[in-house]
């Protein structure tokens, strides 16, 4: 899974984070290092779609949190991914 939007959503699923915290988190759980341009490209798209929103803070490192629609989208994508993973595993076992 290397889709930056899914990785960001997955990172925000357990609570709000700012850009650097997301980068560190994604590196840790997915072993993928998102560059600053890729991360903020994904944040821009996700915010435009209403799947994440900024949290009010006076800091330049503005945190983001996942919205209900974002959680729903992530759930749908994970279900679909889960189906792919299960099918592929089953076929590998029988190959």
């Amino acid at each position: 899974m290397s889709d930056p939007t899914l990785l960001v959503l997955a990172s925000l699923a357990d609570g709000e984070k700012h850009g650097y915290a997301m980068m560190e988190d994604i590196q840790r759980f997915a072993n993928v290092r998102l560059g600053p341009g890729t991360l903020y490209g994904a944040i821009t798209r996700l915010e435009q779609r209403g799947w994440i929103r900024p949290v009010d803070s006076g800091d330049r490192r503005r945190p983001y949190c996942i919205t209900g629609a974002g959680r729903e989208y992530l759930q749908g994508e994970l279900t679909s991914l889960d189906r792919v993973v299960k099918t592929a595993s089953r076929r590998l076992k029988h190959a």
Partner: protein, 221 residues
């Protein structure tokens, strides 16, 4: 490196920078920047520019691309030069001559001199002031200016030779004299390609295409 990334981040659209610029700068301060981050920010800026393009930007970009393509074409196209000579067939003892007869004679001589038709060669009857004997211009276009001049010089010599042979058995009153008014010139400037014109046409063509692209873009969105 950090400063380089900050400068690169200025390539993002202004509207985007107003919203996310501070955050991106803060992120760049927090990370250990690498070369790949610089390219990543550059790519991100280009992508963001493309997604926020308005019609004017589309037209400008396609026009620029058109000018660029036309420029490459213009500078890769070989120069062509035209050498010219002006001659006149004057009937001896008479001031006037029938231009059509002159043209027919020229055509006849050209057919005798040239074994095949060459599109680079042009023989053109010129308007003469005061109703004098008609003059004609021989021009030849070639990528090498010296060779173009040599071809016209050879043609002029052949015309004179042909004319002398044809006049040999004619009575003195009917003899037609072939005069050289302007000898074959060595062209200094190429006649083709007109590079500024080609680039201008590319720019204009690109702008029209860009306008069409912008209309299609509007339809898609």
């Amino acid at each position: 490196m950090r400063q380089l990334i900050r400068w690169t981040a200025r390539l993002y659209p202004v509207v985007w920078r107003e919203r996310y610029g501070e955050e991106l700068d803060a992120l760049v301060e927090d990370i250990q920047p690498q070369w790949e981050d610089l390219f990543n920010v550059l790519l991100g800026a280009l992508r963001m520019q493309m997604t926020t393009w308005n019609y004017l930007k589309i037209v400008a970009a396609v026009a620029l691309a058109g000018a660029l393509v036309a420029g490459v074409f213009a500078f890769r196209t070989q120069n062509r030069y035209v050498s010219r000579a002006v001659m006149r067939i004057a009937p001896a003892g008479r001031a006037d001559s029938d231009p059509q007869k002159t043209l027919d004679r020229l055509q006849q001589m050209t057919n005798q001199i040239l074994s095949r038709r060459d599109t680079a060669l042009r023989i053109q009857l010129l308007q003469t002031q005061g109703g004098g004997a008609p003059a004609f211009m021989i021009s030849y276009e070639y990528p090498d200016q010296v060779k173009a001049q040599a071809v016209v010089r050879d043609l002029v010599a052949s015309f004179i030779e042909q004319n002398n042979t044809a006049q040999r058995n004619r009575p003195a009153s009917a003899v037609e004299i072939l005069e050289i008014l302007d000898p074959p010139n060595l062209p200094e400037q190429p006649c083709f390609p007109n590079r500024p014109m080609i680039v201008a046409v590319g720019l204009l063509g690109g702008a029209v295409l860009g306008l069409l692209a912008a209309l299609v873009w509007r339809g898609v969105r």
